[in-house]
């Protein structure tokens, strides 16, 4: 199973709806399991500085198959992997990057969201990922 346009459109529609519901324009990136871009949307009014962050969160989640903030656990003070965030051309290690998996748990790709407070970004990313996985 792969990350089809159909799945991505479902994710994008859900992400944008969740962003509108909380009134925060977001940058939303969807990458495949190889971390190549599949789709991107910058909603009207979303911060320019958040483009790169959305892409980075999605890349981090795709490369490690886990939420971006879970990658952050390894490199926080006292963690096992100091400086991990400097690898892979730098990672983004706070919340808002979420893997997309199919019904068997296989990794299809990842979503990254940025534009609001971190908790808002994470909420929108989870809504998008849930929609992607609803029939994936």
């Amino acid at each position: 199973m792969s990350l089809t346009e159909q799945i991505v459109e479902r994710a994008m529609a859900a992400g944008r709806a969740a962003a509108r519901e909380i009134g925060v324009p977001m940058n939303i990136a969807v990458l495949d399991a190889a971390a190549h871009i599949k789709s991107f949307v910058r909603m009207d009014g979303a911060l320019l500085g958040s483009i790169d962050i959305a892409l980075g969160k999605a890349r981090t989640a795709a490369l490690f198959g886990m939420n971006s903030e879970a990658v952050g656990e390894f490199c926080k003070p006292g963690g096992s992997s100091p400086g991990l965030e400097l690898t892979n051309g730098t990672l983004v290690i706070f919340a808002g990057g979420v893997p997309i998996r199919d019904g068997t748990g296989a990794l299809l790709g990842a979503i990254g969201v940025s534009g609001g407070a971190v908790a808002q970004d994470a909420l929108v990313a989870q809504a998008a990922a849930a929609a992607a996985q609803s029939k994936a």
Copy 2:
């Protein structure tokens, strides 16, 4: 006037429809007039190597306010600006990058398409740009 989500969705829908009509999956990038990404779609089956080309064509068209191949005229053998394609972190100077303008002629952004033969890329980019401008 600026490049809104609404304009971009119209462009993307027209671009994807044109690509499907000729049976060639495409990468389609839409940037604003300052060359920041606004939207991107990689259709199912589109070449990975064409992601960067689509983005580069759109960036070239946005930065110079003309079709990507028109920028290429300046740097072809005997042209006025040899090596122009090496500036701005490298440009993409063959067809498939098209500016989007509003009714007054002001630059709103640019579309870049890659995935097929160059003539196919250009056809899809023009269809997308025409749809963007239809009510812009």
Copy 3:
């Protein structure tokens, strides 16, 4: 409303005057709202290492629409966004980057200053931004 040469010259004159008043030669960068350079001056004797810092502070303030040190609040220890300073090709997250806004609050661009102590940089950046906004 956009960031015109006239506004920028007013900002540059005020920034240079403020720098001379405290006797510290500065690098002063002015970017537009999309973070493209509009003007730059390195005063005689200003540190070479501060060129990139001035540009980085202005870019940080433009991309996020806030003072560079306010961006730093998000990534300081215990902040919501650890490693944020690594995004966008690295940010500069200490004081001296200040947004320029018009009378309606819309972002026109940003000023970045570096060459002295951080408090001196901030003072000069604020003087330049105030002059830019005086009739903007």
Copy 4:
């Protein structure tokens, strides 16, 4: 003798006046003899894609102590140094980059201009360099 603010302001004023006279908004960059930026102005309406070209022309002229198009002679077909334009992080090898020298012929820096046709860029760069050297 070094490239002072005073010299640079004279060059910038002359360059901008020459650009206004021909009605073409230009990007004008001034670098010192070590190729570090000293001053930059993007005139209202100047092409975004020409920012990097103006900087590249000035860098090329400063690094080699000759006009940018003279560097191009070495790497044109049949020249002695094919691929020279790929060195130094890429050079810009068409006209519009001009060295600034003092009365003894010592290199003080270089000016790079881009935004119009190549001949227009060269004309403005020469006007700026002549003004810089008038009392240098």
